[in-house]
Symmetry: C2
Subunit: 214 residues, 2 copies
């Protein structure tokens, strides 16, 4: 079982690392971070780089493809080399997955046609513009295509996937070992739950949206 | 406001990246990943390296110190250079924080003496051996010292910190933008909630513990 996590300039770190931390604990899994070139890939905040250990060409047939989002997902959406790799990998993958605006990249590669999918709540219109109607769910399964909502939702996606791949006991074990027993001090994690004025502010401005929807 | 995230060989990635993703969004914050030497630092799973952009010596006085854990936290607990840096940074920090077995490192530096603190549930005995009684809470504040339980708990810690530093509205905004609205498909994230046989298995073996308590 090979898991490939795609990196590209200005990706959102937790989109990649949240599900990675859980999926990589799958017994027998080999996880590899891939990018157009090996070496450091800088994130959206600019303050952290993750190292891609393999080029896209070196990992043509992963079992699981994981595509993180980023406020500049267009970096990947407009890159023929990345889109070609996604189509090639998807042709033989068991699961093709994304977090946040990563689904915009999958859609740009033509992989979400006529599928149910989701993305960051601030990117719903962009997903629609690519011909995919976003659902309001946090994690969406449609066949082998799994898309998660914004940033932290990839952790929930990983638990769902672990259950499907290895069964409830393995998924629960990994939840226990990563102590994923969320106790946020606020209940503001979705536009339905957050204070209305905060939601309205971020829905309002193009600048805010572009900065925010990693 | 400068936030320093400590890296050392075999750290647990989500311990560092979970709180980083939220804290780095604090308006006006500068976040920097530090290690004994600049360059890639490989994680506990071996499949990912994060880049330290600054040496410890270059960042002597961060406002927030964040120490991730790892199954080999002893790498840092036995390193005089890291412990010296922690004591120096702590002397002027506003907040000194840890996730998972990171608190064992803070305790080794002598920073948790007579304080309330926590760690990964599989490391309670080790924290006790360092003279600190672990509480059963997910996030523990004692003055400027903030310690979180295993791996994913650093995300909750970051939300608490954001609220204290910048107020509820900023914390809620960052929760909304990272869409932290947890919906795990299982309720097995703590030893009190997970199936008893899974907990017993991991409590049982030294090998399991050493592998697991990142």
């Amino acid at each position: 079982m090979q898991i490939a996590v795609l990196l590209y300039d200005r990706f959102t770190t937790l989109d990649a690392v949240g599900p990675y931390e859980l999926l990589a604990r799958l017994p027998g899994a080999e996880t590899v971070f891939v990018a157009k070139e090996t070496g450091p890939v800088r994130n959206d905040q600019g303050s952290l780089a993750l190292v891609a250990d393999r080029t896209l060409a070196e990992v043509p047939h992963p079992d699981i493809v994981l595509v993180p989002g980023g406020p500049d997902a267009r970096v990947a959406m407009d890159d023929p080399e990345i889109l070609d790799w996604l189509r090639t990998a998807d042709a033989t993958s068991t699961w093709t997955t994304s977090v946040c605006t990563g689904s915009l990249i999958l859609a740009s590669a033509g992989l979400l046609k006529d599928r149910r999918a989701t993305t960051h709540w601030l990117a719903f219109d962009e997903l629609r513009a690519l011909g995919v109607e976003p659902t309001g769910e946090r994690v969406v399964f449609d066949g082998k295509y799994v898309t998660a909502a914004g940033v932290s939702s990839g952790i929930d996606m990983a638990l769902h996937l672990l259950g499907r791949i290895a069964g409830d006991e393995t998924a629960q074990t990994i939840q226990l070992l990563t102590e994923y027993d969320p106790q946020p001090p606020y209940d503001a994690g979705s536009p339905e739950k957050a204070p209305a004025e905060i939601v309205a502010y971020w829905r309002g401005g193009d600048k805010g949206r572009a900065d925010a929807r990693g």
